[in-house]
Symmetry: C2
Subunit: 435 residues, 2 copies
């Protein structure tokens, strides 16, 4: 699959090495850590899930764990490309200026298997896909003939080789059709089948468990009121994990009870490849998730990022299942998911690239952004018919849920940006691309 957008990383991170930032290592400095270093550290510590072997019928949408190469030349044998008459070119040009008449010695379909050979002055009536008779070197389209049954008159002789697909003409044996890390597309499935491949080695979709924490939370379908706030995040982040390619399931709501959280996490480390929690990542007395998990191996890092200043990451259990802790505010949780959880899922899935595609876009309206923080600001991106993108801040504020529901991109406003003026060019992450 050819990339359609540049996969620079306006998150400021590189999955493979240190980002452009210069400050101290994530989680150890006094000030907030730059996202680049934090993310680099997290992602470098992860491995893709072990591969599995799938039948071709189940391959679509999975990430290839290894390069896939042809098992036979493509096409595998010489055949007719179209319906017509397989002939010897020299018979067609033997008597220039006079109509060519050939004896039709048989019909060949795609199911024909008996080797046949043309003798001078004869031809076979062939269907598209039929194996080519030996010594035939042209297929005359039926429409250029009188379509005779016993004998055929050729109105117009095509070029030598016309209407023929030769064995190996498209690809030799052992040619790479698709690279490890790419997602299997319908056309790849076609190319795999055609070149003898019946099974592919892929990474499984990571199983991602999503849970939200908070005594105030209630299930969706009710209207929030003081003390009873609808659990928005576990629904939305389960969807976000599915969108990222995970096999996502909603564990649901966990009260602010350390024992209950420990139990839930112990259960989930047995069945999940990654766990996403939301809520309780602050430093206040109500921030139970942080208190419980910092006693395990989870590190909560203050980042120079807006709107998710704190993100937690670590691994749990003997299997070292990655745990990602996102803030409780739904806007911050969704942005935090994009920044941290989605790349983690991509690495587990063995997918390349790890980051969303990005583009440069013409900003339609001046926006302000907090100093010292890299802001990921939901916005509406549009393509212009003449080429290029525009980006429009959302009416009603970027971090409102209605704004998020309408957005299809995240503007990335760097640490030093306090104002981005209308007419200037900004980076945007494109949320509606497959890769």
């Amino acid at each position: 699959m050819t990339a359609t957008a540049e996969h620079s990383t306006p998150t400021g991170a590189s999955a493979r090495g240190a980002g452009p930032a210069t400050a101290s290592a994530a989680g150890t400095s006094a000030g907030p850590a730059p996202l680049a270093e934090f993310l680099g550290t997290v992602l470098r510590g992860l491995r893709a899930l072990p591969p599995l072997d799938l039948e071709l019928a189940s391959a679509y949408g999975n990430v290839l764990a290894e390069d896939v190469a042809t098992k036979a030349p493509l096409p595998a044998f010489d055949h007719a490309a179209l319906d017509g008459y397989a002939a010897r070119y020299e018979d067609l040009v033997a008597s220039p200026g006079r109509p060519v008449r050939l004896r039709v010695v048989g019909d060949l379909g795609a199911a024909s298997w008996r080797p046949v050979r043309l003798t001078p002055g004869t031809c076979f009536c062939v269907a598209a896909g039929a194996p080519l008779p030996a010594t035939a070197d042209v297929v005359v389209p039926a429409t250029d003939t009188d379509q005779g049954m016993a004998a055929v008159e050729i109105h117009h002789a095509p070029k030598k080789g016309y209407g023929i697909r030769r064995a190996g003409q498209q690809l030799p044996e052992d040619a790479v059709l698709a690279r490890a890390g790419s997602v299997v597309t319908p056309a790849m499935v076609a190319a795999f089948a055609a070149s003898g491949i019946g099974r592919v080695v892929v990474r499984p979709s990571p199983r991602v468990a999503v849970l939200s924490t908070g005594d105030e939370l209630v299930e969706a379908g009710r209207i929030s009121q003081p003390g009873q706030v609808v659990d928005v995040n576990s629904y939305a982040l389960t969807a976000a994990a599915a969108e990222a390619g995970a096999q996502a399931y909603r564990v649901g709501i966990c009260d602010d009870d350390p024992e209950a959280l420990r139990g839930l996490l112990a259960d989930q480390t047995l069945r999940a490849d990654a766990i996403v929690t939301t809520g309780g990542t602050g430093t206040g007395p109500g921030d139970m998730v942080r208190r419980v998990l910092t006693r395990r191996s989870v590190v909560f890092t203050e980042l120079s990022v807006y709107p998710c200043a704190t993100l937690g990451f670590g691994t749990l259990g003997g299997e070292e299942v990655p745990v990602i802790c996102l803030p409780g505010d739904p806007g911050a949780a969704l942005v935090g998911f994009e920044i941290l959880a989605r790349p983690v899922i991509q690495v587990l899935a063995g997918a390349e690239p790890v980051f969303r595609p990005s583009a440069r876009a013409h900003l339609l309206e001046t926006v302000n952004s907090p100093a010292g923080l890299r802001e990921f600001r939901p916005a509406a991106v549009a393509e212009r018919r003449g080429g290029g993108y525009t980006v429009q801040p959302l009416p009603g504020g970027p971090y409102t849920l209605s704004g998020l529901a309408a957005c299809n991109g995240l503007m990335v406003l760097g640490e030093r940006v306090t104002t981005a003026a209308a007419g200037s060019t900004v980076d945007v992450l494109l949320l509606d691309r497959k890769r």
Copy 2:
């Protein structure tokens, strides 16, 4: 969801009305029919599947059957946007120039439900999400205070209203959050949950059965040889149907046996919302699908389209299940799927827009195209950092399977185009966009 690319229809068709073409109605004229009319006729005759009611947890990825509106104002009640101290603004500015000290009369978390009220000179310590005490009109961030427990000193007074989210500030009750026809995104799930919505009315994913026909066909995993050709199409088109949002299943191979085909189709009309066949659409003696289905209500139309000159469409059974007949050549079948089957699936799914997004792109290499035919030519599209697209013809030929596997767009070269020069601008359908 804001559109990210223009949804013009370089297929030449409009789902709602006649296309720009001028020739005679599809299937009835002597010459090949323009795609626009054929597609217009097909799509106008279809209805979206009956809707169903889903729990929010299952809503992601489905197409909304009706507009979704808030069931409560968003937010539903006044609350603190951040951790800090909820206060009366007039207390903060009562004595300009002197440090402000307030008595902390209690702690409020997101789970607090008891209505409380501020008296002059007091404040509540609040967590983000906590309901706002009556008469409080500002939340001072904890970081702008000495973070006292019994009393707190305010270092810096924010503006009146800071740190507060008022009920209805984002959206009033009964405001539209998402339109019918759009696909539910993670952020929509968040907005739905937050505004009291626990169920949504969506269209089911169309169940699409895919079968290939031909005596020569064998299952994938073998190498094609004369008389035994691997069934590429039913694997690839099942994947393509899944990509189009269908619940796709591979029926598999049907021999060129009219009775077997009739039986298979009768079975599938009971369980599928649409059926895709490939192979046998020509007019030769081996073209069994065409012979069998033209006796039913399926019409085979010769189109001024390259590379799929013949497409079949009709409905079968009492339920009038749409049947789409694609050519047997894998390249033509995949392009035919894009042209006809994908829009049909989108209409059944109730999705808008029906067509792939398209863009104008700078052609990097001169290509030739057959006169009188609208060509859909697989190509590699790339975005340029400066904005706009380039499109590169595929090495080794556009309709090779290896070429298709590498493509991410279809160049659309109109009926009058015989040469498109390097440097000119052409339309491309973008195959790697979600909508």
